[in-house]
Amino acid sequence: MDTYANLAALVLAGLVGLAFVFALYGAVKLLAPSRPYALKNATYECGHDPLGEAWVPYRLQYYAFAIIFLIFDIETAFFYPIVLVWRQIGTLALVETLIFVAVLLVGLLYAWKRGVLKWD
């Protein structure tokens, strides 16, 4: 139902955006002075030598957040069909979504009780 021209326009917008960004980089290459030396390129740590590495396996617990996000993102994906035909089905749609949401809220409550949702 959407002509390919419309979809192609999106890709074109992306490419134009990327071109705009790299055009800016080129302008900076032309206009800005550049005099790199070791002390200038050192990582900034409030005026000190950085202690240790920054890319360490930082906090495993944040990985749990990503998983829960995936679950709920896919949940919203499943809502699309119900929402479109909600008016025709009427109260049956409400019962279905209530069951669907109840199952998912159990998952959320479980995560809440296990303390996964605490960001520390």
Partner: protein, 322 residues
């Protein structure tokens, strides 16, 4: 025939860049003036009439600033980071209509395309924060990733409520469905949740965790100098434009102002009213603590948005007007 379509679309895309640049310039000036007046001080006054040329001065300075790439940084992602933050926000602009049907690509499910682009932005912010090999920006990157993904879900669920009421995901249909009564009137809870999550998606004031000046020095872009920092600011202003444009389209009835004839002027007016409100938030509120911010989304906003969806469903089936 394809060549002509291609040329018109190319022109449209360049027009989008003009819109983006125009918005960055207006917002950069307007934010410093409005926050200044909130602080009872005049704000930029001496660069052009009332500081109107201030954004150009900032842009020129950033263009002519040296571009530092730290030696321990990951060079590819260091260059790519700002691009991955700006381009999705810019592509989302392609779908947003200024007038009925007047958008670069008014596709069937415009609503979901905007949210798809909003899901890519956490990549951009995380790349920016992670690639600089700086402990401050690493903490900022993880915070921004967590914040953006957690506030994505309530936003989607509330948008489903609009989809349910309007019946189609094409943005022009959604706006035409609000020709007389806006959805802000029909779904006030939805508007409240959508506004909170939109402010969180833009990393604006009460939720500006990633760029928490007072805590993480300069947050995710601690290592970014000159134009790359300018690009991150541009990404922030574009995200703000997309966020407030969505609020206006979904809830405030786009170009409709009921007794008066519909015209894009109302849309732009509402757009800059919403953006001024967001700047006003920056003048008054302090920053949320990170864990209360995360809890707010998972424990309060998601259940509330699900309840809002149910409510809209029930109202849509019982009353005809909804």
């Amino acid at each position: 025939m394809n060549a002509r379509i291609f040329l018109t679309q190319l022109l449209g895309a360049l027009g989008l860049i003009v819109i983006l640049g125009f918005n960055v310039i207006i917002m950069d000036w307007w934010e410093r003036k409005l926050v200044g007046h909130i602080h009872r001080r005049p704000g930029p006054m001496h660069t052009g009439w009332h500081g109107i040329l201030q954004p150009f001065a900032d842009m020129l300075k950033m263009l002519s600033k040296e571009d530092i790439v730290p030696d321990r940084a990951d060079r590819l992602f260091f260059w790519l980071g700002p691009a991955v933050a700006v381009v999705p926000a810019f592509m989302a602009l392609a779908v947003l209509p200024l007038a009925p049907g007047f958008a670069l690509a008014d596709i069937g499910n415009g609503l979901f395309f905007v949210f798809a682009m909003q899901t890519i932005m956490p990549f951009g912010y995380t790349l920016i924060g992670w690639s600089g090999h700086n402990k401050w920006s690493l903490v900022g990157a993880l915070r921004s990733a967590a914040q953006l993904i957690s506030y994505e879900i309530p936003m989607l669920i509330v948008a489903l409520g609009i989809l349910l009421a309007a019946g189609s995901a094409r943005l022009t249909d959604i706006v035409n469905a609000q020709s007389t009564v806006w959805y802000a009137v029909k779904q006030p809870i939805g508007l409240l949740i959508f506004f909170i999550t939109a402010v969180a998606e833009m990393n604006r004031s009460p939720f500006d965790m990633p760029e928490a000046e007072s805590e993480l020095v300069a947050g995710i872009h601690t290592e970014y100098a000159g134009m790359k920092f300018g690009l991150v600011m541009m990404a922030e202003y574009t995200a703000m434009l997309v966020g407030s444009w969505m609020i206006v389209l979904l809830f405030l009835g786009g170009w409709h102002l009921w007794p008066l004839p519909p015209s894009p002027v109302w849309l732009v007016l509402k757009l800059y009213l919403v953006q001024s409100g967001i700047i006003w938030l920056r003048g008054t509120y302090l920053r949320l603590r990170v864990d209360t911010m995360m809890e707010m989304s998972w424990k309060y906003l998601i259940p509330a948005s699900l309840a809002n969806l149910m409510l809209v469903g029930v109202l849509a089936t019982t009353f005809k007007g909804f």
